[in-house]
Symmetry: C2
Subunit: 378 residues, 2 copies
């Protein structure tokens, strides 16, 4: 870093972020983050924290008191749910049909759990009956799966699996990283005990925070543990000491990021959750329709497809020439970012995110136009 | 949260933050955070990450390749150092003379380590000879202690303890949360294997990131573990996959916070580390001198006192009337935040931080003037 040079970011281009996150952020959110700092125990800041917690609850479809923005990214939210609800030797059943289910297996293994999984092909949801059968067979302490699998673009129906899990006496953990505020999420109605999200997807905030929610039933389970939670930073009982009424210092909350989140949540309230969900659906449908003539076809069947993250099989010409070069031209020439495929889908698909601010026809049109230009060049 | 109301932060006052952190932030840092977002795998963003890593190394006094801003606060940095270097059943010796040494004991216990401690009274540094004797007796796998104990204001000399630990075959973990860029930190010269800090102290950034550094020796130890690191989010081998040359997706980096850190690091480079350390020393000395006539006396002896965080015994009149009321008047009437005492020092001391931007005579004078006004009222 040469101190005589201006900050590199001063010259950063204004990208259209149509990958799997981060999404673009409203200028008012960026502006909110540049407000002067308050202390993390300042009464005015604690009021703002209360506001944030209150505004998060309807997005999760919950009245859970313990609903708060964790001071780390969505992956830490996943770890928080699993390491609090699992004790060494306990059984967990994880639904695996993409990267993030696989990550849950890894995190639960490190928590010392006995990990079972129920699998589906990448691009397909978990089969409900097979999952319910596995729950009845394994009798897991925890059942964990992904609502919106960002690696494949699959929308997983939650309710039947969650109800079977509850009936079997299991706690239910749900990954809502990509679904929150872009799809209906109904933790209370579905019977989900713990859920986590990230700010950089449909909430249209910068990455860095993970909204999480635990039911009272889940908190009671944590309090009844016979072993301490392995992570001090992610221990929900300690977090509850700060975010709850006691306001006991635990760690220093990320003030500026929380200013941004408060503003983003206000924007969501102004729009209304129903219209916002509809906007994501319409944008996703328009994307598939608009790119079909260019040879891009959705990996996932219509009924199981996420609105905010679409996995598109690439035209053969693009696969042959190497998709990386085309993605790079979109970025360098058109300032548009799209995501590559992960794991077994690498090289065969793109992942196009239309999240939060970007869930609109204008994003679809900018991408389609840029693709038409670049594919005609090739 | 009432969606018809403007964002509460729009009306936030401009506080002078003289507590134990966060400190105030330069307007250019806030401005940098409001630059448009880039993706976390965007080549331009990866260049900025390289810049940040390069700029952090001289602050830590290290050439450690693995030096990076962790995507969580300083407490997560502590947990990262301990859970990577400790395996269940291994021995750790922790120096405890305040809250943060105590926190290390808690984190190491949760990592399954056999925890030993060497203690000193709050307000005093660890006794070097007693600590060295304990190292020779316990033969710990890890020795961990705090360079700048924020709960008491004590400056701990590092080198003799670190050398004894290295001689005994131990790995050395150092808490530099409050010292980084306000005191000389010389990891390589001292023989420290892993260290962590926070952005909201002398770096004058918003809270949310934890700069950490691991030596190659420490990374080799982590790679040779017989058990996986219990935390997936904090596993340094996985972090190395993203921050190193491979750029493998691990989690989504907090883009905006990193823009702010890059700007703050440039400001430190412009000032120079030597002048910056001196500025902290002068401000701390001036504070003690200026508040003495008002009846505030330092808890810590001059030779062992931190420059950036001063623990002051309160005048009897203030203790009698309850220190909380006076702190609240400073906040409400003068927009000045100072910190209360923690643990056994609660009610008896204040902790006054002069960190980063605030390490100047103007801060001292504003606090002293406000105190004169409020104490004359009483």
């Amino acid at each position: 870093m040469d101190s005589t040079q201006p900050l590199r970011s001063a010259a950063f281009p204004d990208r259209l972020l149509l990958g799997p996150g981060p999404s673009n952020v409203n200028p008012r959110v960026l502006e909110a983050m540049s407000q002067p700092l308050l202390g993390h125990l300042d009464p005015l800041f604690l009021d703002l924290l209360d506001d944030i917690q209150e505004a998060l609850r309807p997005l999760f479809g919950t009245s859970n008191r313990f609903t708060l923005p964790l001071s780390a990214t969505g992956s830490a939210g996943m770890e928080t749910c699993l390491v609090n609800l699992l004790e060494p030797g306990q059984r967990v059943l994880v639904g695996v049909n993409g990267v993030f289910g696989g990550r849950m297996v890894e995190v639960a293994t490190r928590a010392g759990a006995e990990v079972h999984s129920v699998k589906a092909a990448w691009g397909e949801p978990l089969d409900e009956q097979r999952t319910i059968d596995a729950i009845e067979q394994v009798k897991p302490d925890v059942v964990a799966f992904v609502h919106a699998e960002t690696s494949t673009g699959v929308h997983q129906p939650v309710e039947a699996i969650a109800q079977a899990a509850r009936k079997a006496g299991s706690f239910v953990v749900l990954d809502c990283v990509t679904s929150l505020s872009g799809l209906p999420v109904e933790l209370d109605q579905w019977g989900v005990d713990a859920a986590y999200s990230g700010t950089q997807k449909c909430l249209s905030c910068p990455p860095g925070l993970s909204p999480i929610s635990f039911s009272e039933r889940a908190l009671s389970r944590v309090r009844a543990r016979s072993t301490p939670v392995q992570s001090w930073y992610l221990d929900v009982s300690l977090l509850d000491g700060y975010y709850g009424d006691d306001r006991v210092y635990h760690h220093t909350a990320p003030i500026s990021a929380l200013y941004g989140l408060a503003e983003a949540l206000q924007q969501i309230q102004r729009e209304g959750l129903g219209p916002r969900v509809l906007r994501h659906r319409e944008a996703g449908d328009a994307l598939v329709e608009r790119l079909a003539p260019l040879g891009f076809s959705p990996l996932v069947a219509a009924a199981e497809r996420l609105p905010m993250l679409t996995t598109l099989r690439l035209p053969e010409s693009v696969q042959t020439q190497g998709e990386g070069a085309l993605r790079r031209r979109l970025l360098d020439t058109h300032n548009i970012e799209v995501g590559g495929g992960l794991g077994e889908l690498a090289g065969e698909v793109w992942r196009v995110g239309l999240m939060g601010e970007n869930a609109c026809l204008e994003s679809v049109e900018r991408l389609a136009t840029a693709l038409e230009i670049e594919m005609n060049k090739a």
